[in-house]
């Protein structure tokens, strides 16, 4: 009995070793390129950094940088609050939009491959430098405006908006919604990956469940909420985290832009580190709290 047990332990050990060998690149990379800069940047945020020719000097200065970010800098507070509130609205809109679109794209119809290709195009269009350049292209926006104006008379959303405005119920909530609808392009362009993730989840649900529900007399609407929703609820968590992080870290975000200017143009490394740390902690706290709340409601099938 004994030698057999020994061998089991040996295999276990060998597997553990092999596992470490496999993730070794990650461990080395993490230690060399992440841990040190991470703590250095944390330390730098408490420091006064002076850049000289060929060398740099850090002098500890306590909370000066943080005080600067909150009290002296005229923009920073406003930018953070604005971006966080925009992020909440838009992340919700992106999640709802991508869920809706993936439900449609999961059905069978003519030209589905083409439509899927189009909806996934934003992954290319909204990446990297293109996004930032798109922002301040006035020619394009004026052209889009012209085209929009020619269709003004038949715009359903405009008509709906004016009806709801004159009805005057809960105007504030409507205004936020209208803003999202007017910027639906931004929402669509940011939801490429989310649609893919939802689609992969939808394809995993076995059709037996829908058939059983159908035979029992369940309507499509009911089976959406009783089958589809619980079955892909774990993906809502993944998508939520991805959306929030993506929204906060993309290069056209106001706070990120501000940090870039402070760091690269004004060469104030200490202030930039402090600002990015404040922002990072806020976002991390937000992600942590919301994903905790969502994960309470997530249903795991197996």
């Amino acid at each position: 009995m004994k030698p057999k047990r020994h061998k089991y332990v040996g295999l276990q050990k060998r597997k553990a070793k092999a596992g470490y060998m496999f993730i070794m690149p990650f461990i080395i990379g993490f230690l060399v390129f992440m841990v040190k800069p991470f703590f250095q940047s944390l330390y730098m945020s408490f420091c006064n950094v002076e850049l000289g020719a060929g060398t740099f000097r850090q002098t500890f200065s306590g909370l000066t940088n943080y005080r600067f970010a909150f009290m002296v800098d005229p923009e920073y507070n406003r930018l953070v609050v604005e971006e966080i509130s925009r992020m909440m609205v838009y992340s919700l809109a992106i999640i709802v939009f991508s869920f809706f679109v993936s439900l449609i794209l999961n059905q069978t119809f003519h030209g589905r491959a083409f439509v899927r290709a189009v909806f996934f195009l934003p992954v290319i269009l909204s990446s990297g430098v293109i996004l930032g350049l798109e922002e301040n292209n006035q020619l394009m926006s004026s052209l889009a405006q012209t085209i929009e104006n020619t269709t003004q008379g038949i715009s359903i959303t405009a008509a709906l908006e004016s009806i709801l405005r004159t009805a005057g119920v809960g105007v504030r909530a409507y205004e936020t919604l209208f803003e999202v609808i007017d910027n639906i392009y931004d929402v669509a362009i940011a939801s490429g990956i989310q649609i893919i993730i939802f689609l992969s989840g939808l394809q995993n649900i076995s059709s037996n469940m829908y058939e059983a529900a159908d035979i029992e007399g369940c309507t499509k609407w009911e089976s959406l909420w009783k089958i589809t929703f619980p079955m892909i609820s774990s993906l809502f968590l993944v998508n939520w985290i991805y959306t929030v992080v993506d929204f906060c870290m993309r290069s056209d975000n106001g706070v990120i832009k501000k940090i870039q200017t402070v760091m690269i143009d004004q060469q104030q490394y200490g202030n930039a580190s402090a600002m990015s740390w404040i922002y990072f902690v806020i976002v991390l706290a937000f992600v942590g709290v919301t994903s905790f709340l969502i994960s309470k409601r997530v249903y795991y099938y197996d």
């Binding site: 060998r14 597997k15 553990a16 092999a18 596992g19 470490y20 496999f22 993730i23 690149p25 990650f26 080395i28 990379g29 993490f30 390129f33 992440m34 040190k36 991470f38 250095q40 730098m44 740099f56 449609i104 439509v115 290709a117 189009v118 909806f119 996934f120 195009l121 934003p122 992954v123 290319i124 269009l125 990446s127 990297g128 293109i130 930032g132 350049l133 798109e134 292209n137 006035q138 020619l139 394009m140 085209i147 639906i184 669509a188 893919i196 995993n204 058939e211 035979i215 993906l235 993944v238 985290i241 992080v245 906060c248 870290m249 990120i256 870039q260 760091m263 930039a272 990015s276 740390w277």
Partner: protein, 362 residues
């Protein structure tokens, strides 16, 4: 298949109650199908108690609404590209002509020539291609190793290391950018260089740091690739590998011979992601590859280079109109995404279908 049989039972059940003839037909079994197909549509509808008509009307309505919605949304996504295409063929006077909206009056390809010259297009294109390809290959290779390690092996501190992967996904590169800047400016491994040569190495301005980072899974969105690949491997049954182990196949060999061929879909899509994101990335490119001419950095500078160019040929300082610089910018953007779109058209299946059909559980 399932739908049709289901419809049959549905239409069959009420008919048994309503008509004598239909009841007989239902009892006859195989005969039913023939009899039903002989009946007219409204007759069948009557037999089903109005169910058939209702169903067909709903189906048609749903598909029409869906078509309208999808057309609108596709148009919305494609419109900026179409606008850019039409603008890129206009001359400067067309841009100011209020009558010209999307079809140019004076057709020209001059914008393309100018944009290509400003971006040193052919050179930047080759550079970008080489950099994106090598970086993407390197990143996917190491991320696959790490993802496989996380999916299949039990080892101490596994949870801790995986939490680190999540942390890598969550930490914005901008947070650590400033210290990475300095890290590579005064690069040193545990003080070895300082000990031997007396000074640290300046790695800024060369491409080496970025390759090193990619080799360590710390490139652009690499945490996400590790996560996706891990989820994929977790879904593959363990039996195959165990059989390989029993037959005396080593760990690495099992990975290469058995697991890699199976994981083609996820590897292709991750590779394509890595390629595309690297191609358009401005952040890492600006930070590490500043000296290499890339399409992404060239595009972000195109407006400045345009004004410099105009100034050079005119000899005097002139301000260029916003419309014209934006037109050149649109042309440049088109030229940059053109290779990606061609790639995308060819690899569309790999992009979209492979992830969805492989069914990753997140």
């Amino acid at each position: 298949m399932t739908k049709r049989s289901w419809k049959k039972t549905k239409t069959g059940a009420p008919s048994a109650e309503t008509g004598m003839a239909a009841a007989n037909a239902a009892a006859a079994g195989a005969d039913t199908q023939v009899r039903y197909s002989q009946l007219g549509f409204f007759e069948r509808n009557r037999l089903s108690g109005g169910y058939l008509l209702r169903k067909i009307v709903t189906q048609k309505a749903v598909s029409i609404i869906r078509a309208i919605l999808l057309f609108g949304m596709c148009f919305m996504i494609l419109q900026p590209i179409l606008n850019k295409i039409s603008v890129s063929f206009m001359t400067e006077q067309d841009l100011y002509n209020p009558v010209v909206i999307s079809i140019p009056e004076h057709f020209t390809t001059e914008n393309y020539r100018l944009a290509a010259e400003l971006m040193t297009y052919s050179k930047a294109l080759t550079n970008s291609f080489i950099v994106s390809l090598t970086i993407a290959l390197l990143q996917i290779a190491v991320c696959t190793l790490a993802g496989y390690g996380f999916a299949r092996f039990q080892f101490p501190f596994k949870k801790f290391w995986f939490a680190c992967v999540i942390l890598v996904i969550l930490i914005p590169p901008q947070t650590i950018a400033s210290s990475l800047h300095l890290h590579f400016r005064f690069f040193d491994i545990l003080g070895l260089f300082k000990l031997t040569t007396g000074k640290t190495v300046n790695l800024r301005g060369s491409a080496l740091p970025y390759y090193l980072m990619s080799a360590g899974c710390m490139g652009l969105k690499n945490g996400l690739y590790i996560y996706m690949i891990r989820q994929f491997f977790r879904n593959i049954p363990v039996d195959l590998e165990e059989a390989a182990y029993v037959d005396g196949c080593g760990m690495l060999r099992t990975f290469i011979k058995i697991m890699l061929p199976q994981s083609k879909p996820i590897l292709t899509s991750c590779f394509l992601f890595a390629f595309v994101w690297q191609w358009t990335d401005g952040f890492y490119s600006k930070m590490f590859l500043g000296n290499t001419k890339l399409v992404s950095t060239a595009l972000s500078r195109i407006v400045d280079s345009l004004s410099a160019y105009i100034q050079r040929i005119n000899g005097v300082k002139t301000t260029i109109s916003i419309a014209y610089s934006n037109c050149i910018l649109a042309t440049g953007t088109l030229m940059i995404i053109m290779p990606l779109i061609i790639l995308y058209l060819f690899a569309q299946k790999a992009f979209v279908e492979s992830i969805t059909s492989s069914g990753i559980k997140m």
